[in-house]
Amino acid sequence: MKKIKLSRQSRSDLITYGIILLLSLVLFFVGQSSYQLKGLLVPVCAQIILAVSLNLTVGILGELSLGHAGFMCIGTFVGASFSIYMEQFIHIPALRFFLALLVGALSAGIMGFLIGLPVLRLKGDYLAIVTLAFGEIIKNLINMVYLGYDGNGLHFSMNDTASLGLAEDGVVIIKGPQGVTGTPADSNFGIGVLLVLLTVFIVLNLVHSRDGRAIMAIRDNEIAAESVGIHITKYKLMAFTISAALAGLAGSFYAHNYNNIKASTNNFGYNMSIMILVFVVLGGIGSIRGSVIAATVLYMLPEILRFMSQYRMLVYAIVLIVMMLFTWSPKAQAWKAVQLARCKKKLQPLTDKFRKKSSDELKKEGE
């Protein structure tokens, strides 16, 4: 009996990984069709990572967070600065990029921990509002940062470039509202797919572990979770921190696709946070697979629909509504269940044959 349960769980996970590989194959070919679409391949991977990581907070922990773009912002700027500064010391691009991703994720994780410590005492709408504010605060703070380096090391200021006091050979890394310039272009679609797989791997395995069960217990019933001795604050913080760290990973990856990146409202504002939340909600709260699909479709669609010129956003809106109905309406869910059962029935002879074959083989081995 137990084996069936385990294999069902891992089968569902395998399907998720399969869908990701399939989607990335489709994306790869879509990307060949035009220059604009090709340019979206790296950002779409970042979007998928963001959606999956936010799903950890919203779907698995069950708390609404609207500041996810803020954590991505930290990852972006820390990762990019690290790469620019380290270009003089580490000459292997792959190693440097790997470390930049790690540093981006770590810094966002630490920030998530520090913010989560006070903020996670709140619940529901209150938590959403405070995380929204923290997201904006992070973005605005980064807009004030000036960072540069010269022979003496790093220089930091909150005023302007001149007050950095750089030597003549100094290089400015972050220039306040003009953002960070000169990030090496290390990102590509292949690494993006790998990172998406890594993110999904981490989130899925966490969910199926002891810690993941504790996190979901808190979501389902906080009082009962405490009554069996689960430390509420610890596990809330754990989920929030991992979620933030993965957003930082996405940010650092995203940064290495652009020579110049600004902490503007478009990139890291609350609209971005809400966009990620839309991916999560329309893909199905708590469904990792759904987040991956929704993020891909909804991020690529405006570009793919460009040939419709002014009707583009109209179609986009319709897709949003259809997707919402498809994920959440009871009728659609019933329809999906029926279709799934029908599919299974059709596949039954095949799987039976397969099972028989494998059991025959087992028997042979036994003999």
């Binding site: 137990k2 019933n221 001795g229």
Partner: protein, 252 residues
């Protein structure tokens, strides 16, 4: 020495004296009942014992250890587990996972080992599965292990809640109206289950109940609460015949 010793326990909510000068002594292996009319303060006593509320005054000792004023997590670790009057299961998780969450503090591996599925993860998850299945078998829930907890029928949800409480390996089990909403058949079955738990796990059980058949059937001693203070205590038969108790339940 008694397993649970409570002296002079009291708490007020604003001007309301919810529990006043409450005392209790439960011996190891005993089946003890706490009864009283609605609003008498029975569940408040449970909440005080499990650390949901901090007592205003009084001392609670479990197995000689003073646990007064500790948090509910610490008290659970010290050895008190409970069920709830209105069932509180982890609804969106499987029956098996509900019990495994109960085992949370009995089995350990790190987050890292969990995420990367290192050998220790596999070993300990296997042990947890086995332990959880043992408990589910006791309550005849092993066939439903993959069901979502919310899809179980009412009586089985009650049983699952007891199984989850037992999974924390307590010294003392508190049952808050375990027979609430059950039909006579289910109640009868529950009585057998409670007796069975006591035998099998050598468990000490303190329960709140309104169903007099269940109380007189399985409890050895009773304490009757009325308006937050003790009305009567002692052996079940004597207490149930006490004119004061009958008056409190039925009126004059």
């Amino acid at each position: 020495m008694a397993l649970l010793e409570v002296q002079n326990l009291g708490i007020s909510f604003g001007g309301l004296r919810a529990v006043d000068d409450f005392h209790l002594q439960v011996e190891k292996g005993q089946l003890y009942g706490l009864i009283g009319p609605n609003g008498a303060g029975k569940t408040t006593v449970f909440n005080l014992l499990t650390g949901v509320y901090k007592p205003g005054e009084g001392i609670i000792k479990l197995d000689g250890e003073d646990i007064t004023g500790r948090s509910n997590i610490e008290i659970n670790r010290a050895g008190i587990a409970r069920t709830f009057q209105n069932i509180r299961l982890f609804k969106d998780q499987s029956v098996l996972d509900n019990v495994k969450i109960g085992l949370h503090n009995r089995f350990h591996y790190s987050t890292f080992e969990g995420i990367f599925r290192l050998p220790r993860y596999r070993k300990i998850e296997k042990e947890m599965d086995e332990r959880a299945m043992e408990l589910l078998e006791v309550f005849e829930l092993e066939k439903e292990k993959d069901y979502l907890a919310s899809n179980l029928p009412y009586g089985k949800q009650r049983k699952l809640e007891i199984a989850r409480a037992l999974a924390t390996d307590p010294k003392l089990l508190l049952l808050d109206e375990p027979a609430a909403g059950m039909n006579p058949n289910e109640t009868h079955e529950l009585m057998d289950t409670i007796r069975f738990i006591r035998e099998k796990f050598h468990m000490t059980i303190l329960l709140i109940e309104h169903d007099m058949k269940l109380v007189s059937g399985i409890c050895e001693e009773l304490t009757v609460l009325n308006f937050g203070s003790i009305l009567c205590e002692g052996e079940t038969d004597k207490v149930l015949q006490d004119p004061e108790v009958i008056k409190a339940y039925l009126g004059e």
